[in-house]
Symmetry: C2
Subunit: 275 residues, 2 copies
């Protein structure tokens, strides 16, 4: 019972402060990335921040690439289905929009996500959870499963692309101190001289395309949702596509028209019907 200082440390701080573990390393790396960008994340910097030597990290993490994978999956957990989506919109259109906006918010909260490799690595549990959540949302459209997956991929790709653009633009503005419209404005005179080289650009510029530019994310999201709406509407009674996988199905010249593209899909539909 002597030395209450040490007792307290052991009881309360043992797991938390004493000793290294994977989670502490990952969290420290995220802090470095948040403060100074992904390119500032090095094994040295992370170890310094934790008060350990560089090599100590390798007892808990195989290498830097894996550390970045872990960082990605860690923050992916923030958009977990637990919160039930931020907007609580009704109908699949609103739900997908909410999902897209929540994903964008995630990318903006962690701008380094757009710089890190991405699909290169094995998806982690949190990433899969987000994927699963999105599948659930898109499933409510009633599309066949293969199309549900394709739609989730499509929307996810759009959001990542738009987020990358936004984050890069913001970084550019912060770095150079000059906003986008000023930049284009300053180039106006340049375009005057390049009128012959870039006729279409010169034309839309002259017609005021850049005076009140549309928000790329909201514009793109609207397009994405429109396209899904077309798909859902057409899919309802489109006899020319397989009910299971959505691939086109050949219509035989005579006889009963087919509902499935292959014997395999027919069997799957049967099994689904049975439970």
């Amino acid at each position: 019972m002597a030395d209450p200082e040490r007792s307290t440390e052991l009881l309360w701080g043992a797991k938390g402060r004493r000793g290294l573990n994977t989670q502490r390393i990952v969290r420290a790396a995220i802090e470095v990335a948040a403060a100074e960008g992904l390119e500032a994340v090095s094994m040295r910097r992370v170890a310094e921040r934790l008060g350990f030597t560089t090599m100590s990290l390798y007892r808990h993490v195989p290498g830097k690439a894996e550390l970045i994978d872990l960082m990605r999956d860690e923050v992916m957990g923030e958009a977990a289905p637990g919160d039930g989506g931020p907007g609580r919109e009704t109908g699949w259109r609103g739900e997908i929009a909410s999902w897209a906006r929540a994903s964008l918010a995630l990318y903006r909260r962690h701008p380094w996500l757009t710089e890190s490799p991405g699909t290169r690595s094995v998806p982690g549990p949190n990433a899969v959870a987000g994927f699963d959540w999105a599948l659930g949302v898109v499933s409510r459209t009633g599309l066949p499963p293969a199309q549900v997956v394709a739609v989730v991929t499509f929307v996810g790709g759009f959001v990542e692309s738009a987020a990358r653009r936004i984050v890069e633009t913001e970084r550019m503005e912060r770095l150079t101190g000059v906003g986008e419209e000023e930049w284009w404005g300053a180039r106006g005179s340049l375009f005057d001289r390049l009128r012959d080289d870039y006729p279409a650009l010169e034309r839309v510029y002259r017609e005021g395309a850049y005076d009140e530019p549309l928000d790329p994310f909201e514009f793109g999201l609207e397009r994405v949702l429109d396209s899904i709406e077309v798909l859902v509407r057409d899919e309802r009674r489109d006899e020319s596509r397989c009910q299971v996988c959505g691939n086109p199905v050949e219509t035989p010249a005579k006889g009963r028209p087919r509902s499935y593209c292959s014997r395999a899909c027919q069997q799957r539909a049967y099994r689904m019907r049975r439970g």
Copy 2:
């Protein structure tokens, strides 16, 4: 007239072989990236390939970041409008599809493009030329200029996103030697145990979503084109949007309905009408 060896060198090789210049450096860097990937591109490696010292490069290129910018712009020149588009499809839908497929081909020809920073830097002349070409294609839809720019951004973002996914998938397969469907197949048993954690994923998987997956690029392209079609159709007589910039325009309760969202757009329309 003595030493024909040297004379030949001077006459034929002077510009081509003797001496360094920016273009030779850029081309050598592209060769390295093509052979061993972007991460293998270092100032040392590029200099070695040219038979010069590392530091000699800095007489012609400010630094590595700028070199990569130059590499990007160099290959962007390949999709120049000169070839008139590869498919020579008719109608804006076919033209945009051709543009998208040509861009995808460019990314596949130079997989390192998807790894390099991207929008981070100032666009080069060839990139702007490609942008200009795309603007010309999309302009034929008859959309207002601000929407033309937004559509080009949208389509370009989609293609880059899809290309990144494709290139990463291919690299993964080449690296691990295992195809995507095998990978998911091997994880099938894993999903069985995680049935409770990922219900939606488990469900679409069981319903055969991955048995005959849709091509993400072709599926997405179809969606993108559908959404533009909706936009073009709606835009034809949509009185609630500005004819110039496409922003929504307020409808006054009484009196003549407005055609433009602002005095500025009204003036621009007037100027355009006059020539």
